[in-house]
C-alpha cells in the first residue's frame, strides 16, 4: 500500500518524563521514527565540575526522582573506587536493601500504573472496572513495600539521606525492621496475580539483539562483571571502552552502541544473562515463567520486571535478618584519582566515571544512563513495528507504538541530562 502520513505523539503519558514521537511514512515506507526526549536538559555533568567530591552523590540524586537511589549509589561507588574506600559488609547489605526497595517500587509503578492500562485497554488506572480495581490498590501496596524498605535503611525513598560515601549514617530501627518484614510477607502473594495477568496477555514483539547486564552473583543489582549475550565478560572499569556515543540532533538526549551494535539493557537483559542468580524462593515459585528466558521478545521485559519484584521481596527478607550495629565512619584520604561505578538501575546499566583533583574537587564527571543505551534499538523497533502495521488505522498504530515504548520503560528524566559537550 502506498500512503504518506505523519504520526505525532506529543508528551506521551504513562512513561517517566516527557517524550514525544514523530513518525514519517512516505510511499508506503517508514522514512523515520524519532523518539524525542522532551525533558529539559539540566546540565548535571557540567554542574559537577569543580564541586567537592563529597557533595556529588546528593547532587546527582536529583537527576531522577524515580531512580534517585541508583544515581546516588553509582556515584558513591565511583568515588569509593577512586579513593580506595572499602565499605563494610553491613554498608553493602544496606546498600543492597536500598536498591532492592527502589527496584521493587519502580517496577511496581511501571507495571501497575503504566503497563496494566495497556493490557486492560483502559486509558489509565483510574478507569479500571470493578474487577480490575484490585490492581490499583495492589499497585499502591507494592509501591509502598519498596518504599518501606528504602525508607527504613536510607531514610527516604526519594533523595535518600542516610547513604554516605563509605557508610550509612543510621542503623535501621529494630522494631521497624520487624514491621517491614511482616509487610513484605503480607504483600508477596499479590505479585503472583500481576505475573499471571502479564503472562496471559498476548503482546509480543520479537527481535534478537545483544543483551547487556551486570551479572551480580547475588542479583542485588550492584556487584559483579558485565556480561552480554555472546558470553563476553567485561570489567566495570572497561565498560565505556566498548561504547560509542551517537548524537541525536533532534533530541535533548543521546544514544549509544555497544561493540558497534545496538543493544538492550534492563530487566530483560538481566534475566537473559543472569537468571540463575535469582533468589531460590523466587526460582522455585516461578519456574514456569523463568523458562522463557533468554528471550528476544521485548514484552518479556514486563514479565522480567514482575519476576524481579518477587525476587526483591525474597532477597530483602533475607538481608533484613542481618544484625545491624552502629559502625564508624571510614577515614577518607583525598588524592588525585579516577573512579568508575556501575550499577543496575531499575531500567538497566548505569555508568559513572568521576575524576577527582588532588584538592578533592571534581575535574570531570561523565555518566551513561539506561535509556540512552536503549534509544537506538527502541527507534529501530518502532520503525519495524510501524512498517508491519502500515495498513492499520492510525489510532491503532499509535496505540501499538505507545505500548511498545512502554515495554521498554524509558526514563526521559534520566535521558535528558547528558548531551555531551566537547571540552577542549
Amino acid at each position: 500500500m502506498h500512503k504518506d502520513f505523519d504520526l505525532k505523539i506529543e508528551n506521551m503519558s504513562k512513561i517517566e518524563g516527557h517524550a514525544s514521537l514523530e513518525i514519517k511514512v512516505r510511499n508506503g515506507a517508514v522514512e523515520s521514527a524519532k523518539l524525542i526526549v522532551g525533558e529539559n536538559k539540566r546540565f548535571y555533568e557540567e554542574a559537577m565540575r569543580g564541586k567537592p567530591f563529597s557533595t556529588i552523590p546528593q547532587m546527582v540524586s536529583r537527576i531522577c526522582g524515580t531512580c534517585s537511589i541508583a544515581h546516588l549509589t553509582c556515584a558513591t561507588e565511583a568515588i569509593e573506587k577512586a579513593l580506595d574506600i572499602k565499605p563494610s559488609k553491613q554498608t553493602l547489605v544496606l546498600r543492597k536493601l536500598a536498591t532492592l526497595g527502589t527496584i521493587l517500587r519502580d517496577h511496581a509503578m511501571h507495571l501497575y500504573f503504566f503497563v496494566l492500562p495497556d493490557i486492560f485497554r483502559k486509558p489509565s488506572v483510574f478507569e479500571f472496572d470493578k474487577a480490575q480495581h484490585k490492581f490499583l490498590h495492589d499497585g499502591f501496596s507494592l509501591k509502598a513495600a519498596g518504599n518501606k524498605i528504602t525508607k527504613l535503611v536510607a531514610g527516604r525513598a526519594i533523595h535518600a539521606i542516610y547513604s554516605q560515601i563509605g557508610y550509612f549514617s543510621k542503623v535501621p530501627d529494630k522494631s521497624k525492621v520487624k514491621e517491614t518484614i511482616a509487610y513484605l510477607k503480607n504483600v508477596r502473594e499479590k505479585v503472583f496475580d500481576l505475573i499471571d495477568v502479564i503472562w496471559n496477555c498476548d503482546f509480543s514483539f520479537k527481535r534478537k539483539t545483544n543483551y547487556v547486564a551486570l551479572a551480580d552473583p547475588s542479583f542485588a543489582f550492584l556487584e559483579g562483571d558485565l556480561i552480554d549475550s555472546y558470553g563476553d565478560i567485561i570489567k566495570e572499569k572497561d565498560f565505556s571502552n566498548h561504547l560509542n556515543e551517537i548524537v541525536i540532533p533532534y533530541s535533548q538526549g543521546e544514544g549509544y552502541t555497544f561493540k558497534g551494535e545496538e543493544y538492550f539493557v534492563g530487566a530483560l537483559a538481566r534475566l537473559n544473562v543472569n537468571k540463575k542468580s535469582l533468589h531460590e524462593n523466587t526460582k522455585k515459585d516461578l519456574k514456569k515463567y523463568l523458562n522463557v528466558f533468554p528471550s528476544s521478545d521485548i514484552y518479556h521485559n514486563n514479565l522480567a520486571q514482575a519476576i524481579e519484584m518477587l525476587h526483591c521481596i525474597d532477597a530483602s527478607l533475607d538481608y533484613l535478618e542481618f544484625e545491624f550495629k552502629k559502625e564508624k565512619k571510614p577515614e577518607i584520604k583525598i588524592k588525585k584519582s579516577n573512579g568508575v561505578g556501575v550499577v543496575e538501575a531499575p531500567r538497566g546499566v548505569l555508568y559513572y566515571k568521576l575524576s577527582i583533583t588532588k584538592e578533592g574537587k571534581i575535574d570531570f564527571g561523565t555518566l551513561v544512563t539506561p535509556t540512552a543505551q536503549n534509544q537506538i534499538r527502541m527507534e529501530n523497533d518502532i520503525k519495524l513495528l510501524v512498517t508491519k502495521l502500515l495498513d492499520k488505522p492510525e489510532k491503532e498504530i499509535q496505540h501499538e507504538v505507545e505500548k511498545l515504548i512502554r515495554a521498554y520503560d524509558p526514563c526521559m528524566t534520566c535521558a535528558s541530562n547528558f548531551l555531551k559537550i566537547k571540552w577542549i
Binding site: 503519558s13 539540566r42 557540567e46 554542574a47 526522582g65 524515580t66
Partner: protein, 160 residues
C-alpha cells in the same frame, strides 16, 4: 457529590515531588478516592484536562518558552496554584546552569537556543502569582497531606 478537581504539572525538574505525591497515595488513595478527581497527571494518565481546576500542584522550574506557556495556562485555568518543591519555589536544583561561569555558558548557548530555553532558569513565582508553597526536595509526605486536606475543606468537599 462535589469532588476536588486537581492537576499535577511538571516543568523542568527530576519529577521527584510528583513521585512523592504518588507515594502519599500508597496510603491515602483509598481515603481520597471519592473526594478528589485527578484531571491532569501526565505521569499516570493521558487525560490532559486543565479546564476549571480547583487546585494545580506545580513542580519544577521554568527553563523554556514552552514551560512558560504551559505555566501561564495552568494559572489561567486553576483557582489555586500551589508550588511544590524547591525547584518550583526557588529554582534550585534545576537552575544550576544560571551559576555556570562565562566559558561554560558560552559552550551551552547553541544548545539552549536550539531548544528554546530562556536566558535563566526561574522559579514559577517570577511569572505567575502563587497561592501556596510546599517546600522541600522532595516535599514531605506529611506536608502534602496537610495541604490537600486543607483544600478539601476550603473547597467544601469535606467538613472542617
Amino acid at each position: 457529590m462535589k469532588k476536588l478537581s486537581i492537576g499535577i504539572f511538571s516543568f523542568t525538574c527530576d519529577e521527584g515531588c510528583s513521585m512523592q505525591i504518588l507515594e502519599v497515595f500508597n496510603n491515602k488513595f483509598k481515603e481520597w478516592e471519592n473526594l478528589i478527581e485527578i484531571k491532569h497527571f501526565r505521569l499516570i494518565s493521558p487525560r490532559k484536562d486543565i479546564e476549571k481546576l480547583d487546585v494545580a500542584f506545580v513542580e519544577g522550574a521554568i527553563s523554556t518558552k514552552r514551560d512558560l506557556e504551559g505555566l501561564k495556562k495552568v494559572r489561567e485555568t486553576s483557582k489555586k496554584v500551589i508550588a511544590i518543591g524547591s525547584c518550583a519555589i526557588n529554582g534550585f536544583p534545576s537552575n544550576q546552569r544560571n551559576f555556570f561561569d562565562k566559558k561554560v555558558k558560552q559552550k551551552i548557548k547553541p544548545f539552549l537556543k536550539k531548544f528554546n530555553h530562556l536566558e535563566n532558569v526561574e522559579p514559577i513565582k517570577k511569572f505567575i502569582s502563587v497561592d501556596g508553597e510546599i517546600n522541600g526536595c522532595p516535599i514531605s509526605e506529611d506536608d502534602f497531606i496537610k495541604v490537600l486536606e486543607d483544600c478539601l475543606i476550603e473547597f467544601g468537599v469535606k467538613d472542617a
